[in-house]
């Protein structure tokens, strides 16, 4: 599309049109962000059907609240903030259940396993395995920075913690990752 066409389709413009009840704008916005938001939700709820239901709820909130969006953050940051709130609410509801597999899965499993043993031969595969052993809290912040390309301030806004905490939490998560790798026999040269 031309520059004008591209501008006419940017996220804030779509939000303004959604506020007027424009379904095409809704479909375009959904198509643009659904995969990343879905994957973010999936980290918390761990089942695809549940994550899809939450995804629909997130965009329903956008439909309802578009007129109140003031543009103080990017649209994607706004979407991830809503998604996080809804996903955590869902996880908390499940915690009330008598047996809670999800809560158990949130506890980091730092024990070495056969997959890591095999992966030692391949440093990047080992790193991938060890990233999956981080706690949900640490993994969330790492995903927000590397996959969603969010700044310190945006991560702070999405997670609701101060910017300084974002930086130290991420630093600690990365050091924890190095420790897990080291225990698995992989030295990645930092810290």
């Amino acid at each position: 599309m031309t520059q004008d066409g591209a501008e006419a389709c940017d996220d804030p413009h779509l939000i303004r049109r959604i506020a007027e009840g424009d379904r095409l704008a809704m479909q375009v916005l959904f198509g643009r962000h659904r995969v990343r938001v879905f994957r973010f939700i999936l980290r918390f709820v761990r089942d695809e059907a549940g994550a899809e239901d939450i995804l629909a709820e997130v965009f329903l909130d956008v439909w309802r609240q578009a007129g109140k969006f003031e543009g103080r953050s990017s649209v994607s940051t706004w979407l991830l903030s809503i998604a996080r709130f809804k996903a955590l609410s869902c996880v908390r509801q499940r915690r009330d259940a008598p047996y809670d597999e999800e809560a158990a899965a949130e506890i980091a499993d730092e024990a070495d396993d056969p997959e890591i043993e095999i992966a030692k031969r391949d440093k990047s595969a080992a790193l991938r395995q060890c990233l999956q052993k981080l706690t949900v809290e640490h993994r969330e912040i790492i995903d927000l920075v590397y996959y969603h390309e969010k700044s310190v301030e945006e991560v702070a806004q999405i997670t609701g913690v101060p910017a300084a905490t974002v930086k130290t939490r991420l630093f600690y998560a990365r050091q924890k990752l190095s420790e897990i790798l080291k225990r698995a026999g992989v030295d990645r040269g930092w810290p």
Binding site: R17, E20, Q27, R32, R39, V145, E149, F171
Partner: protein, 220 residues
């Protein structure tokens, strides 16, 4: 235990540098330090490796099925209609007040109410008529993750959203993904049981709209 470094503030910013999420000032300060500090360079190398694996892990995750859009639009269908913006309403009122006497304005209000009532009736009727109301490509109960007939489409430079929307409605297509690199969108043009001839007809209709569509091809 957290090991702190002499350049702790910069060390903490390494992932944001790798992700391209620093402000221009922060980036300049970071790059100046990076040129002098081997520890920071090792940190950045580790962060780049982390980023690559995080991208691989996320890309390996599934994408939502078409059901998610169906669920969303079913919920939207159940919502009350959006009101026109306050600005639009004030603008119309101001124009009417400027043009009409209070008595005429009263009659105009009655007429406007009649129009609104008529529209409400039409909307209600369209809700009740399955063929007339907005419908998504599949029902909410349908498992459509793999099912469906898809097309990959790139819209023409300058094509506006209203025209695209009309074309999508005309062909019964629903945007399910995009834009991908190069401005491509993936459209669902029908169910898995869509006859090949009908799929081809829809594809041809998209291609013939060459003022709006610059590329259209079947997509898995």
């Amino acid at each position: 235990m957290t090991t702190r470094t002499p350049n702790q503030d910069l060390a903490e910013l390494a992932p944001f540098y790798v992700a391209g999420a620093l402000t221009p000032d922060e980036q300049a300060r970071f790059e100046a330090a990076l040129a002098q500090d081997p520890e920071l360079a090792r940190n950045v190398a580790a962060a780049r490796a982390e980023r690559d694996e995080i991208l691989a892990l996320n890309e390996a995750l599934p994408a939502p099925s078409a059901r998610a859009l169906d669920v969303l639009f079913a919920k939207i269908d159940a919502e009350p209609a959006h009101k026109p913006s306050l600005w639009a309403r004030l603008d119309l009122g101001g124009a009417l007040a400027g043009l009409l006497s209070p008595r005429a304005l009263g009659w105009a209000t009655v007429a406007a109410c009649a129009v609104i009532a008529l529209q409400a009736g039409l909307l209600t009727q369209s809700k009740l008529a399955p063929d007339a109301h907005y419908s998504t490509a599949s029902g909410p109960q349908e498992n459509v993750r793999a099912a469906g007939t898809y097309a990959l489409v790139a819209f023409a430079p300058g094509a506006n959203m209203e025209a695209i929307g009309a074309l999508l409605a005309q062909t019964g297509a629903q945007i399910v993904e995009g834009p991908r690199a190069g401005g491509f969108y993936r459209l669902r043009i029908g169910g898995a049981d869509l006859a090949p001839a009908e799929a081809q007809r829809k594809l041809d209709a998209l291609r013939q709209a060459n003022a709006l569509v610059r590329f259209a091809a079947p997509s898995p």
